[in-house]
């Protein structure tokens, strides 16, 4: 069973030859393939990460711009509303003034007519009272 002979050194040499052979055929080329691939994947991941970051930054920038624009729009709307409010209140005030003026004019007209009517009435009152007095006096 424990039968040592020249098989031992020859087997050792044969094994070393196999190591060299497989190193040339297997470990070096396949290792290079594996390393190249992992390098490739790593670099691709890196660029993808960079692009993701830049796109995220862009999105943030756009978001900020959007906020700005929205704010601007709100302020425009607010100023327009204020202006419209101003215009409306000015016109309302004007209209109220005009109405006031017209009312005053009408009031004056009414007063004038009232006075003339009163004056006319005064004349008639005098006349009627004269007639009453005459009638009373003649009757008496």
């Amino acid at each position: 069973m424990f039968d040592f002979d020249a098989t031992l050194p020859l087997m050792a040499i044969q094994f070393l030859v196999l190591v060299v052979l497989l190193d040339k055929l297997f470990y070096t080329p396949f290792g290079k393939t594996l390393d190249d691939r992992s390098e490739y994947v790593r670099s691709r991941r890196l660029t993808a990460q960079e692009r993701l970051d830049s796109s995220k930054k862009l999105a943030e920038q756009y978001e900020a711009e959007l906020v700005d624009v929205r704010k601007q729009g709100q302020s425009i709307v607010a100023t327009a509303q204020a202006e419209a409010q101003q215009v409306a209140s000015a016109e309302i005030a004007e209209a109220q003034q005009a109405a006031q003026r017209q009312r005053e004019a009408a009031q004056q007209e009414i007063d004038k007519q009232k006075q003339s009517a009163m004056a006319a009435l005064d004349g008639q009152v005098d006349q009627l009272s004269n007639q009453i007095v005459e009638k009373l006096l003649t009757a008496a």
Partner: protein
């Protein structure tokens, strides 16, 4: 082969003798060789080389089929070496540890899966190369050389300081370790593979059909584990030689 029950035990012994002791001797300039070991080891080496050549003919960025499989194998080996030697040191040792694993693994499984018995040899029989003590001792001695080489290359003569490093009292044990390491490596592998083949052979002899299958499955499992253990221990020994006791930086 029919035999009375009382004869089984004696037949078992003669069977074990017959299985293990006989070799298909070759003569090479006065040195004798175990021919059957070389034949199967050439088969194993050829299988490995053909597989790598076929897989490596047209390597693509996105692997398919055999290339994918061989890349998986390489990643497995790299992880094995990395776990033992650490991220920094493992790369130059991948070919050695990886070839240890692949050679032992393919040897073990070829011994368990390929019906070598159908190929008649003048004497002895074809089996896993790792079931021969010469192969396992050769591999174990190579591991010893490898870790000595690693230690000397990394630390020069300072490598010897590890023998007296914590205390010189342990010097004999430290020296003894250099002998027990290859001894345990080679005998563990040899014993496991030979015992597995013997058990399967005996069971096949007793009950030719179906009964040996669970034992064969177990044999496949232990064969794979043995290959892993051998490669892992080789990595661990090399790591130990590289690290030393005191002057490491972790």
């Amino acid at each position: 082969m029919m035999m009375p029950n009382s004869l089984i035990f004696s037949n078992f012994l003669s069977l074990a003798e017959l299985e293990v002791g006989r070799h298909f001797y070759w003569d090479l300039g006065g040195f004798s060789l175990h021919g059957q070991v070389f034949l199967t080891s050439w088969f194993v080496i050829g299988l490995l080389v053909i597989a790598t050549v076929l897989a490596g003919r047209d390597r693509k960025q996105i692997p398919t089929g055999l290339q994918n499989f061989m890349e998986y194998v390489l990643e497995f080996i790299r992880n094995l070496a990395k776990n033992q030697l650490g991220e920094k040191e493992y790369r130059p040792w991948v070919p050695f540890i990886g070839t240890l694993f692949l050679f032992i693994f393919v040897s073990n499984w070829s011994g368990a899966l390929i019906p070598w018995k159908f190929i008649e040899l003048p004497e002895g029989e074809l089996a896993a190369p790792t079931g021969d003590i010469n192969t396992t001792v050769a591999l174990a001695l190579l591991v010893s050389l490898a870790y000595f080489y690693a230690g000397f290359k990394k630390r020069g003569l300072g490598y010897f300081s590890k023998y007296v490093e914590p205390t010189p009292i342990l010097l004999p044990i430290a020296i003894l370790e250099d002998f027990t390491k290859p001894l345990s490596l080679s005998f563990r592998l040899f014993g496991n593979i030979l015992a597995d083949e013997l058990v399967v052979a005996v069971l096949v002899l007793l009950v030719p059909l179906f009964i040996p299958i669970p034992v064969m499955m177990l044999g496949l499992f232990t064969s794979a584990i043995q290959a892993l253990v051998f490669a892992t221990l080789a990595g661990a020994y090399i790591h130990e030689a590289l690290e030393g006791h005191g002057d490491d930086d972790h």
